[in-house]
Amino acid sequence: MIRLENVTKVYEGGTVAAYDVSLDISKGEFVFLVGASGSGKSTLIRLMLREEPVTRGKIWVAGKDITTLPRWKIPYLRRSVGVVFQDYKLLPNKTVAENVAFALEVLGRPPSVITDQVEQVLDLVGLADKGARYPRQLSGGEQQRVSVARSFVNRPPIMLCDEPTGNLDPKTSVGLMKLLDRINRTGTTVVMATHDHAIVDAMKRRVVALEHGKVTRDEETGRYEGALK
């Protein structure tokens, strides 16, 4: 589903954020990218979304080489990949339902389909009664669930999550992870960058550890601990 082949990313100024990273992520997998701040987790997510071009190497997402993707095709890539960020990235002037619907409007879905799908996904994330609220009227955990709803509303085959629990308390984080686990069980591939020990240890999923941009460990059912050796 996702394949990174000798990917290197060096930012202007010489910071090496990823170095010779090779990874194969299969359909339906749940993969944690772990490591200290600055280890390159978020950069890998950004590279998979084509927010940044690679310096060297190749990345395939859903069978397509995205490193050579022309600029006008980038929106199409992003429509097939759901994204969740630590800071939620919700549109402040839109209600919860409008934020979720926006992902479908972009695809040009008819209004009746949009209304149905938004209702369903808000129900899935437990916010069926809060569709008319604005993001500022919700708690952090609720905002993150809106973000998950938006990224999942068009049923993308892949979800990329960059520290989605970073702003949440442990209890709310558990709730969010249960939601992501449910989504993963529908067959969606989930790649999540985190430095939340408890979550990684509890989930017992594949763990890819990064240090200074290099992969130092890749375990099928790993724990967080080894990452900071």
Binding site: T8, K9, V10, Y11, E12, G13, G14, V16, Y19, L49, R50, E51, E52, P53, V54, T55, R56, R71, W72, I74, P75, Y76, L77, R78, R79, V83, K89, L90, L91, P92, N93, F102, A103, E105, V106, L107, G108, P110, P111, R150
Partner: protein, 307 residues
């Protein structure tokens, strides 16, 4: 279709939800286009007045008395008919000796000592108004060739030329000011809309992350810019029209200077200014958005040695 309606709805919602920013942009358009439109109105007033001053008698041909020194009796009528047949001549009027004497009496009515003159002293004349004022020299020399009948030809050459020079200088100045202020309007509008978009740059980046194409993001902003431009321009046209109409009413007593431009002119230029406002708003939005729609292109630097 539903997609387009969505984008229109987005633009309208955004106009409502960002009322303060929208008001700032409309104000910028209003101020700059008021100045540009005002300059055009002043230019039009000057044009109307210089045109009015250019109307009237341009060439006077004084004639020898008929029946004297071999001048045929019907020479005046013949010359008048000939002059009237010239295509450069708009109108030719014959003033006989009595007419000239009456005119003289009227002109110097306040100076009694000058009034007592023999009506025979003043010559008859043909007063000529030209189609194009530039032809006055040619007409003068053509008349002077008729030495048998024509005594002397005078033209308002100097004053005509001065008036023409003044008129073209004022025209260039007025249009120049309108163009400069119009360009300033585009820059001001672009800048204001850019600030408005800067305030919403996070929104733009979120839309991109969700997979919105650049055009999908751009259209509501362009519609917003267009609405702001049209509303600002409409307010500017209305304000200048109101000011100009009141000024014309106040100055209706001036005999020598016209201040009314006419509603036809206002309508024609008003529509053009609305279009200009719309285009300026769209261009402003395009310029303001371009930076935030650009994708990262640099693939970065080389890997440092020793990494």
């Amino acid at each position: 279709m539903s997609r387009f309606l969505f984008l229109v709805k987005e633009a309208l919602l955004s106009l409502r939800r960002n009322a303060l920013i929208v008001a700032g942009a409309v104000l910028a358009v209003f101020i700059s286009l008021s100045l540009a439109f005002g300059a055009l109105v002043v230019n039009e007033i000057l044009r109307i007045n210089t045109l009015a001053w250019q109307e009237g008698v341009h060439v006077i041909s004084f004639l020898k008395d008929p029946g004297v020194d071999g001048v045929p009796v019907d020479a005046h009528e013949a010359l008048l008919a000939e002059v009237r047949s010239w295509e450069e001549v708009e109108e030719a009027r014959y003033v006989d000796k009595t007419g000239a004497w009456l005119e003289y009496q009227e002109l110097f009515a306040s100076q009694e000592e000058l009034l007592d003159i023999d009506p025979n002293v003043l010559p008859a004349s043909i007063r000529i108004e030209l189609v194009d004022i530039d032809t006055h020299a040619a007409i003068k020399s053509r008349l002077q060739q008729n030495v048998l009948v024509v005594r002397e030809v005078t033209t308002a050459a100097d004053s005509i030329e001065q008036l023409q020079n003044l008129s073209s200088v004022l025209n260039v100045l007025g249009l120049g000011m309108a163009v400069v202020l119009g360009l300033a309007a585009v820059v001001l509008i672009a800048n204001t809309i850019r600030l408005a978009i800067y305030a919403r740059r996070d929104e733009v980046s979120i839309m991109k992350l969700v997979g919105a194409s650049n055009w999908f993001i751009r259209v509501p902003f362009l519609l917003e810019g267009m609405v702001e431009g049209v509303v600002g321009a409409a307010l500017a046209v209305f304000a200048v029209w109101l000011g100009s109409t009141n000024l014309a009413r106040a100055g209706s007593g001036f005999a020598l200077f016209r201040l009314d431009v006419g509603n036809d002119w206002f309508f024609r230029w008003g529509v053009l200014f609305l279009i200009f406002g719309a285009v300026a708003g769209i261009i402003g939005s395009m310029l303001g958005l371009s930076r935030y729609l650009r994708d990262a292109e640099s693939s970065g630097a080389e890997v440092p040695t020793g990494f």
